[in-house]
Symmetry: C2
Subunit: 261 residues, 2 copies
């Protein structure tokens, strides 16, 4: 098993990644994983320690193996640095990102109205497996990122898709590492897509994903809630909240994905 | 009065914009306006007609007057084209965006769970004025984009800030034009920021704003609902839904902004 840290490491040149085949959904590398590789390259270039915001546009899926990451500074500020990061393979661009880097802490909210998602205790949720009976493809990612989902989201797996448009559960890194601002990017793109819970079995390729990291996560599992507003004209939005084990909001994300209905 | 169309026009070279001083909040040009200028430049380069998704990182505020827009194609697909767009002034980058271009229609949702926001009829809402008594700055934008807000959001204006974190109202372009996928970018960044409704009177500079346009809007005003999840460590998220006069979801957005509390 490759740990998150190993799978996102860059060579000494700070620009060469070795994309790991385990961090995949079907035969495609996971979007959150590619974001984490880009985010790690930015962190290596910045004087500010943490990723605050990142939008990644996915251009073409890279294959496992060597890839090149290029980081350009757009603006260096005292409290925020802004960067462009680009992932290429065989000279072809695979993803491009805009990243804001800064400093996170564990402060309480000055004001907030978000509520920690209501879901069963971790031990009452069901762990997804990489090879599920009837699944259209294997999900190697699920061996590396433990997804324990609210059984209420899992009707699709027994031929009873829901109309709720909700995926909720507990996530842990299988290597035992605590979550950090980079690995939280993985949690902002959980499995399965909302479309699958609605009975759409095809691939839902992300066009663009935006993640905000709001504070340093406490040790322990995170709770993830993913919802969608609409599936219209072959496109689906998905919104994700990630909450740490103390019930603090640690990350938020939104993505636009393609679906075939 | 400069119309939206005039204020976002590019010179015959397709790369020179004349940033209009009217599209401003205080002495800063409005983020949605700058996004529309970038979006128009992308549309001029693409074979696909409509903006589907756009994330803009704001680097430094440009001044009214000439600015240069550079558009780079990242990937041309049959149904989606992906671009990088950059706004510069006096050789300094002011904003950079990732844009997905495609084709919108007016289809009904295949599935949806979003609900049109509950707010009073347009005539029962209160129109914001560019120069409000007690406001820390003038908002010229409000002469060009009519904001009629739910009175329930306006306690802050009489010294009674709310704890709701909600801004809701009806928007129309004062030039009488119907909304289109580019002008909807203006509506994804409505006034005032949620922070002001909570009693934070300072500037809330957008670090990054992500907008999705979901369908072609019907003629007439749009309804806008903006909420926030949390203000933590000097940063605020804001989420926006834009609904057309028929009650269809036409755009969504999320932004991360700085606030001083």
């Amino acid at each position: 098993m490759t740990t998150f840290s190993e799978a996102t490491a860059l060579a000494a040149d700070g620009a060469t990644a070795e994309l790991d085949p385990g961090w995949a959904v079907g035969d495609k590398l996971h979007g959150g994983y590619l974001m984490a590789v880009l985010g790690r390259a930015v962190a290596g270039r910045s004087e500010l320690p943490h990723l605050l915001a990142m939008t990644t546009t996915f251009l073409r899926p890279p294959a496992p193996g060597p890839a090149t990451v290029t980081v350009d500074l757009l603006r260096a500020g005292r409290t925020a640095g802004q960067y462009r990061a680009r992932l290429e393979q065989d000279g072809r661009p695979c993803a491009e990102a805009l990243v804001t880097q800064g400093t996170l802490d564990s402060s309480a909210a000055w004001w907030g109205r978000a509520k920690v998602p209501d879901l069963p205790a971790e031990e009452d949720c069901l762990r997804l497996t990489a090879e599920a009976p009837g699944s259209p493809f294997t999900v190697p990612l699920l061996d590396l990122v433990e997804h324990r989902l609210d059984p209420a989201c899992l009707g699709f797996a027994v031929g009873q898709p829901s109309q709720d448009g909700r995926v909720a559960g507990w996530l842990r890194l299988a290597d035992g590492a605590d979550w950090d601002p980079l690995s939280l990017l993985i949690a902002t793109d959980p499995a399965p897509p909302v479309s699958l819970t609605l009975g759409i079995t095809g691939w839902a390729p992300t066009l663009s994903l935006t993640a905000y990291v709001r504070r340093l996560p406490a040790p322990g599992p995170v709770r993830v809630l993913m919802t969608s507003s609409e599936i219209t004209s072959g496109r689906m939005d998905e919104t994700v909240e990630v909450w740490d084990s103390t019930g603090a909001l640690v990350a938020q994300a939104t993505q636009l994905a393609g679906v075939r209905v």
